[in-house]
């Protein structure tokens, strides 16, 4: 499961839930697998004039850090005719849901 961190332990936080690679904060769902990129991504859920949403200028509600995509080299089954070495191709690994980090901000 995703790691949950609190900015202020003991303080009330927005409602949230985690289902696999999807994190929902105050009714706003974030698909972390779809948002993953080649460097760390932070998706901010904010309270924009009373309406929770991704981004904006409002108060922080949650900061969801999605780790950078990792790659592995896998053989393609072909052999390089010059070096006679197997041809490898980089393949992206699936996002590990346990590496997602959800930081919850206190409710103002």
């Amino acid at each position: 499961m995703a790691k949950i961190k609190l900015i202020t332990p003991g303080a009330p936080t927005p409602e949230f839930s985690v289902a696999g690679k999807k994190v929902t904060v105050a009714g706003v769902e974030v698909d972390c697998a779809a948002a993953q990129a080649d460097s760390d991504v932070v998706v901010e859920v904010r309270n924009n004039v009373g309406v929770p949403g991704v981004g904006g200028n409002g108060f922080y509600m949650a900061s969801i850090r999605i780790p950078a995509r990792k790659y592995v080299d896998k053989p393609t089954g072909e052999v390089d005719p010059v070096t006679e070495e197997p041809v490898m191709a980089r393949a992206a690994k699936d996002l590990d849901k346990n590496e997602i980090e959800v930081t919850l901000w206190p409710v103002a």
Binding site: S39, Y60, N98, W105, P106
Partner: protein, 278 residues
């Protein structure tokens, strides 16, 4: 018969008539000494009381009300000044201190979960602004019949370079976290254990950093995120780190994300957030 002569003076003591004292009357007779002394004290106190009463009467009821009103106004102003100072310190101009660590893996140090142990490859890590060689290791993981156990595997300075260690719970502050392993109760081996790869990988450190170190900082809520941010770097380890290396990745009325744009490690920063028009 005549009265005793009285004078306006505070007698320091009252004479005690002794058993051998004769009974003698008259203006200076010993039998009248006590009364004379008490009478002098009475005159003194009466005059004192008359002066005090005259002063109080001279103020008049209106003047007395004005004095009260002035005192109340002064107290109210002092209260408002105190509120202003508190608002300045707690909201309009907030300060704090922050420590940014900048450590991770350049290459290797890959964790592998096996049936009965965790192995960590050798590799190269970075900390204190420099790259360091890191030795790997193989670790047997204790299991429990009753509790979920969580272990951290991390790098730490050793006799030469960095070495891999295992600890139950969180790693120490100067450790570089590689992975965490959570073992459920009644596990017979590590098949059902969950391993999370926690490495921060920067293959081009220190030339290029893909994911700069960041920290979240909460502030007392302000009306909006358009406050001014000032920073002073108190100390840094291993690489140059001026004020321009400390930036804001994100800001809001209730906090900010501070980002480090330097290879330095253990960067201690004093920050100030100002919004005088809050």
């Amino acid at each position: 018969m005549t009265n005793l002569a009285e004078s306006n003076s505070w007698e320091l003591g009252i004479y005690q008539i002794e058993t051998t004292d004769p009974v003698v009357g008259g203006a200076d007779g010993i039998s009248n000494v006590q009364a004379k002394q008490l009478a002098n004290r009475t005159v003194y106190l009466k005059l004192l009381a008359e002066v005090a009463l005259a002063d109080a009467v001279a103020l008049g009821p209106d003047m007395q009300s004005m004095v009260d009103a002035t005192l109340m106004f002064a107290l109210d102003q002092a209260g408002q000044a105190d509120w202003g100072v508190r608002a300045l310190r707690e909201q309009w101009q907030q300060e704090g201190e922050l420590r940014l660590t900048n450590r991770g893996i350049v290459s290797g140090c890959v964790p592998v979960k096996n049936i009965s142990d965790i192995t960590i490859d050798a590799g190269i890590c970075f900390a204190t602004g420099l790259q360091h060689s890191a030795t790997g290791g193989s670790f047997g993981v204790p299991i429990s019949t009753t509790d979920t156990l969580v272990y951290s595997f991390y790098l730490r300075p050793a006799a030469s370079g960095y070495a891999t260690f295992m600890v139950s719970g969180a790693p120490p502050d100067d450790g570089i976290l590689i992975c965490t392993v959570s073992v459920p109760p009644n596990a017979v081996d590590l098949t059902s254990a969950t391993m999370v790869d926690e490495r921060r990988i920067e293959p081009d450190f220190p030339v290029l950093i893909n994911t700069p170190a960041e920290e979240y900082v909460a502030i007392n809520p302000l009306s909006a995120g358009d406050w001014r941010f000032d920073v002073d770097v108190v100390s840094a380890l291993g690489a140059p780190c001026g004020k321009d290396a400390i930036t804001l990745a994100s800001r809001a009325g209730n906090g900010m994300t501070v980002r480090l744009l330097s290879a330095a490690d253990d960067v201690v920063v004093r920050w100030r957030v100002s919004k005088l028009n809050n």
